[in-house]
Symmetry: C2
DNA sequence: TTCCCTGATATGTCTAGGCATATTATGATT
DNA sequence: AATCATAATATGCCTAGACATATCAGGGAA
């Protein structure tokens, strides 16, 4: 827990002042010199230490608070936050874009297409009342001609009536929706499962082979747009998530 | 593309001014009134429109830029960003905290512990040069007495020398590290796999049962701290990721 | 034309104050 | 001792300016 030093008068001038201060304070925290719960000097005091206006300190502290590294409370002052459960940013890409970027050819084949009033399963998966018209699609994504992912999808035709006219025989519904329909929220659930007979046949893999299942629900404000479940053989897909350091 | 209205003089005073401005501008963008590429009025102009100082406008724009909803460039001005590929926030919790929160009992059992110079496998997994001293730990997490997750971990003893003295016979190394060692970056890789004989025996599941594998690498700035691989039976773990609407 | 110089412009950062508000500490009253 | 009013304090938000800097538009020279 060493003392703060006033920064050199930024002769090189590469970084803005508030950024230098941000970095200096951040270093104290991530290095452990200021452990969780440690009370920082007041803004006035920091302004004196660093030789700048309080507003500049406030900006640096604001950025640290944004990153959840510190907690600021009026009168109570500023303290180092406790680490909070890990939280990563997971990018989930469009299958087609991903494959094309990797230099593979891509195509989509429709295996089944039905328009029907939502049955009980549909209703619970899509979160609509039974009887709502839905479009059910089952399809296969291929990379270089070989099966890559199996897709089961439900589209809420009340939210996306124009999907009723679409055949989806070669264009993947994911891409079609992404380009046309705005949406505000999404939720993903990721789990592992053993391929059952139907999946094994479609993906041309042995029965019981491990697969990664990604389920996605999409909303436009309060309205449900679509529910999709993608199943990848274990050796063909891998999610990568990168962390941004945050604390609560 | 309707005109901006000066906000009412915040009679209720619930939200700070910059937040109201942030919300007003954000509404223009997410509603589509200002499409991607649209040029926003200059800060001076916005300050006149909203009847406040330019600094206040700048703060609102700064927050929008942070959310990647707009792009700001000197002289060129501020424009609405293009939507970017889906990005979800994935929370990966501490196993113990998760189980205790769910009302289960938790314990950890150490199955193997070795201090050794990094061999080729260690070196590539942990990203250190061969010969660097590492602590290798293999352990089992139990929930209500039943196996819940299998853990293989490597700790860089050059980064965390104090781990050498720790037995880790009952305390999980994850928790120990999380509480003691600061870190700045992490990366997760998630995939599915079939249980091999060793994993099946440890987790008391049939061979070939699908499992979810989560690998995590942790850094403190440039230095590698630890590499861990957690394997969960498919019916015992599920990751959930929620989306935050962002643009680039 | 092409290239470079120059001025105009919009954002980036900063200052030195101000009032507002939440919270804690203190002191007075019951 | 317990409760409540009050003052002190630290952050939160704001202003009205300032200079710095990146970039664009225009004009003049090769």
């Amino acid at each position: 827990m060493t003392a703060l030093e006033p920064l050199k008068p930024t002769d090189s001038g590469a970084l803005p002042r508030y950024r230098e201060i941000y970095d200096a304070l951040r270093q104290k925290i991530v290095s452990g010199a200021w452990p969780a719960g440690h009370k920082l000097p007041s803004e006035h005091e920091l302004a004196r230490t660093f030789g700048c206006a309080r507003m500049t300190i406030s900006k640096a502290l604001g950025a640290l608070a944004e990153q959840r590294l510190i907690t600021r409370r009026r009168r109570a002052g500023t303290t180092v936050s406790a680490p909070r459960p890990q939280e990563s940013v997971l990018e989930i890409h469009d299958i087609e874009a991903e494959l094309v970027a990797a230099g593979s050819t891509y195509d989509y084949e429709c295996l089944d297409r039905q328009v029907r009033p939502a049955n009980a399963d549909d209703a619970s998966a899509l979160g609509v009342t039974a009887g709502t018209p839905v479009l059910s699609l089952i399809g296969l994504h291929r990379a270089d001609g070989r099966p890559h992912a199996f897709e089961e999808r439900l589209i809420n035709l009340r939210a996306v009536p124009e999907a009723r006219r679409e055949r989806f025989s070669r264009t993947s519904p994911g891409r079609w929706l992404l380009q046309r329909i705005p949406w505000t929220d999404a939720e993903h659930q990721i789990c592992a499962l053993n391929a059952d007979a139907a999946i094994a046949r479609r993906l041309e893999i042995p029965r019981h082979k491990a697969c990664l299942s990604i389920e996605r629900n999409t909303w436009l404000d309060e309205q449900r747009i679509t529910h999709v479940r993608l199943i990848y053989p274990c050796d063909q897909h891998r999610l990568i998530a990168r962390f941004r350091h945050q604390r609560a």
